[in-house]
């Protein structure tokens, strides 16, 4: 007896409501964008500069007392948040303290850290400082720039690759799905105020890779079926292709999600945001490769005669390369 996620033969009509799906996706993208534009992201120190101090003590964290103790130091904007994790014992009470960058100084002075530490020690004598990280404004500015370039570069490179291997309509469909996934991920980080740091950029790029992986597998089948069913309308061919690859798409998503969920629950709080981004990315990536990428491909139309590789579409000469 085998576990089957989808029946052997499926013939779901993925296009009967394609307008609805595209509409929902469009709406979600608008919401994500508006949220991002209105309240921005909760940038970590990697991107805005400043200092974070992670504390651990046996006594429960008293955020108000911490804040009061630090108020006298006049360090500007201070954010104190308690951290929870199932792996913490009863005597492990963890908090993160974030301090805004101090004037023009590139990185925080040892005196400032000393002052903060002794202020906190006066509240909780047994407090431990398990990590202290400080990033100057110069580096954080560069990090933002590099991150944006990296994401754009990844999308661009992928666009070119798919264009070479398929046709431009495919490339556009795939990239639309990608932008959709990246935008929704940024949106949920903005909406839920989850800290956005350098690792999240890595997660974003992984989502780019994953979402593409899914989309490309569907497209590969579309290309094959376009040759196989020359006479059928495009919509039918697309539908057949999605149905044929549905089992694989879901299998891979489920195994990846299983691994990620294990990491989300057990991997500790330090990378939880990162893993959350990836889980979200796998979900929207799977959705977008089924509903967004192909729907767009349907709207754009596609060359039907794949037997003659030099006919029209640029770049299709690479389509038959089986590396």
């Amino acid at each position: 007896m085998r576990l089957k996620l989808v029946p052997e033969e499926t013939s779901v009509d993925f296009f009967s409501r394609s307008k609805l799906w595209l509409g929902i996706s469009g709406l979600m993208m608008v919401i994500a964008f508006v949220s991002f534009a209105l309240q921005g992201l909760n940038f970590g120190i990697d991107f805005r500069g400043g200092t974070t101090i992670r504390t651990e003590s046996a006594e429960p964290v008293d955020v108000a007392a911490y804040r009061a103790a630090m108020q006298e130091l006049e360090l500007g904007d201070i954010v104190i948040s308690e951290v929870f994790d199932p792996s913490f014992g009863p005597d492990e009470n963890v908090a993160m303290v974030r301090i805004a960058p101090q004037g023009d100084a590139e990185s925080v002075t040892p005196e400032t850290i000393q002052a903060v530490e002794s202020a906190l020690q006066s509240v909780a004598p047994d407090i431990n400082f398990t990590s202290v990280e400080s990033v100057g404004p110069k580096v954080s500015g560069e990090l933002i720039q590099t991150a944006i370039i990296a994401v754009l570069l990844a999308i661009g490179a992928v666009l070119i690759y798919i264009w070479l291997r398929f046709e431009w309509q495919f490339a556009l469909g795939a990239v639309a799905a990608l932008v959709h996934d990246v935008l929704l991920t940024i949106g949920i980080f903005s909406e839920l105020r989850i800290q956005f740091d350098l690792a999240i950029i890595a997660a974003l790029l992984t989502i780019v890779g994953y979402s593409l992986n899914d989309t490309v597998v569907v497209f590969d089948r579309v290309r094959e079926n376009l040759v196989k069913y020359k006479k059928r309308p495009l919509k039918e061919v697309l539908n057949i292709s999605i149905n044929e690859t549905l089992s694989r798409t879901l299998m891979t998503s489920v195994t990846t999600l299983l691994a990620l969920i294990a990491l989300f629950i057990l991997g500790g709080d330090v990378i939880r945001g990162f893993v959350f981004a990836m889980i979200w990315g796998v979900l929207v990536g799977t959705y977008s490769s089924i509903f967004v990428a192909t729907a767009l491909l349907h709207r754009l139309g596609v060359k039907r005669d794949w037997e003659k590789p030099t006919d029209g579409g640029a770049g299709t000469q690479f389509a038959n390369v089986d590396a």
Partner: protein, 553 residues
């Protein structure tokens, strides 16, 4: 039909064996690490019983390369420093002044008297008494120019000389500035490395980043502040003649003199001659010691040249004070009691034992050519690192188990093949990461977990395809073969796109993000290899043995 050449089989098994052999040391991490540490210690400082025992903990004929653990897993300090390369320009120009003076002096008849103007940074400005001689002065000084000593800008000269009214201006040329920057950075890198080695911690990372930055990561050190104490001090030591003590800060020093604050007495300033008698560069040794009153001090010894200069100066100036200056602060200004011929001496001041030890280390390692600004600093406590490793280990194992069970439930025997391949895949990944000396970070562990999840993708593609082919193709062998054939293009396309993103991440990212890109990238390569070669080999071997009439995938 289903066939794999013998040589291919041998090759596949060899690769698998390589993975397992080179991944194995990581299973015995502590033991291998002790073995490696002992081996280094024995090479450096000779054998002790303890070290030999540690060395024996791991057989030396087995590979002993293990994955480095990043700071976020081991704890330690991370600093990103910017070298103030401009600091060096002024020193270079200042050193040029005597030459310029000596060149212009013989021309006094046409250029008039010459006078050095004080302090515009990056420029040497000389006033000519007779501006009409400017042309002659310019061409004379231009002859001092030397070709830049760097391959990139061969042929360019090192200084630019121009005239502004009655002022002759000498600047470093852009090519020379770049060559100087490069030299400064290399020197700084070398000095930092020496200082950290003196303190003796394990596997520090000291890397140049870009034009003027240095990345320093030291595992096991208590805090970034501690690390900064070691590398942040310039440690420019000079011995300068004292003109006056206890002068006001605002004193206008005579030409060639400067006003320098005292290190320990707040508000006390010295007026010193700018040209040092000897500098720290001429030191050959410095050791922490105690003075005759039992206070911590530092003993030092000069090289022959330094000893001669110091000897001559002390002989001529008995009864006069001279100042020991560290980074523009006077440590002490003792009166010369007698001629000091041997070239050794003692620095006293209000030191603690730690301070004198540290000063000795700094002096031995040499001075930094320029100051450092710290752009980024991180300290990760060892407990946090330990927690992260443990969490990462548990999560990876659970993720692994879940995927294994799920694959078996979905594909039965074929799932089992894929599972063995998955285990081999992780072994290969660890093997590669060990061999290339990669550093494992927390996001890197996430990369491995993600690889575990995604690695089965290629197998899933193949198995699903075999299922489809079984419906149409004649016989299971043909179905399996066609399954592999047809799935290949999807596998290649899907994975190349992911590799592209991993490469971009690696190229653009830094620190932990790079660790993630590395495990993700290699994870994709090994997963494709195991899916299209290893599982296929298993399936073929199984098929040859049982020759089933029908199969279910």
């Amino acid at each position: 039909m289903l066939q794999i050449d013998t040589w291919k089989r041998v090759l596949i098994w060899l690769v698998v064996a390589f993975g397992i052999v080179f991944a194995a040391p990581n299973l015995f991490y502590d033991r291998v690490e002790r073995h490696n540490d002992a081996a280094t210690a024995i090479e450096r400082e000779g054998e002790t019983e303890e070290r030999t025992a540690a060395l024996g903990a791991w057989p030396s004929w087995l590979p002993s390369t293990i994955i480095n653990l990043g700071l976020d897993l081991r704890g330690g300090a991370h600093l990103l420093a910017e070298v103030q390369v401009e600091d060096v320009y002024d020193a270079r120009l200042e050193a040029l002044w005597p030459e310029v003076r000596d060149t212009l002096r013989p021309l006094r008849d046409s250029v008039g008297t010459i006078r050095l103007q004080d302090g515009t940074p990056g420029e040497l400005r000389v006033t000519l008494g007779n501006p009409d001689g400017m042309g002659q002065a310019l061409s004379a000084v231009r002859e001092l120019a030397q070709p830049v000593a760097s391959v990139a800008s061969a042929g360019a000269s090192d200084i630019e000389v121009s005239g502004e009214g009655d002022t002759l201006v000498v600047r470093l040329s852009e090519a020379e500035q770049r060559a100087t920057d490069d030299r400064t950075l290399r020197q700084a890198l070398e000095i930092i490395r020496r200082r950290i080695d003196e303190v003796g911690t394990r596997e520090p990372t000291i890397q140049r980043q870009g034009e003027d930055r240095i990345l320093i990561q030291v595992p096991g050190i208590g805090s970034a502040a501690e690390l900064k104490d070691i590398i942040g001090t310039t440690a420019q030591l000079t011995f300068q003649p004292v003109v006056g003590r206890g002068v006001a800060e605002s004193t206008d020093p005579g030409i060639g003199n400067e006003v320098v604050p005292a290190l320990d007495d707040e508000g006390v300033f010295y007026e010193l001659e700018r040209a040092p008698v000897v500098t720290g560069e001429e030191l050959v040794d410095a050791q922490p010691a105690f003075d005759q009153n039992g206070n911590p001090a530092v003993n030092f010894r000069f090289n022959a040249q330094g000893a001669r200069a110091f000897g001559e100066y002390t002989a001529e100036n008995i009864g006069n004070p001279f100042a020991i200056v560290l980074d523009n602060e006077v440590i002490s200004a003792p009166v010369i009691q007698s001629h000091i011929p041997g070239g050794s001496g003692i620095i006293t001041g209000q030191f603690t034992v730690e301070e004198s030890t540290q000063l000795a280390v700094l002096l031995r390692a040499g001075a930094l050519p320029a100051g450092l600004t710290f752009l980024e600093e991180r300290t990760i406590g060892p407990e946090l690192g330990q927690d992260s490793i443990e969490a990462g280990q548990i999560a990876t194992m659970v993720a692994f188990a879940l995927v294994l069970v799920f694959m078996f439930a979905c594909y039965g025997l074929f799932g089992l093949f894929a599972n063995i391949a998955l285990i081999i895949n992780v072994a290969l990944l660890f093997g590669i990461l060990s061999v290339i000396g990669a550093t494992l970070t927390l996001p890197g562990i996430a990369g491995i977990v993600l690889t575990v999840g995604m690695a089965v993708d290629a197998n899933v593609l193949i198995f699903e395809r075999i299922r489809e082919e079984l419906k149409t193709a004649r016989g299971p062998a043909r179905a399996i073969e066609r399954g592999y054939e047809k799935a290949l293009s999807a596998i290649v396309d899907a994975n190349i796109t992911t590799i592209i993103t991993a490469i971009i991440l690696f190229a653009m990212g830094s620190g932990p993000v790079r660790g993630f890109a590395l495990t993700l990238g290699f994870g994709i390569i090994t997963s494709v290899f195991t899916a299209i070669f290893v599982t296929r080999l298993f399936v073929t071997m199984w098929f040859e043995r049982t020759r089933p009439k029908t199969i279910t995938v």
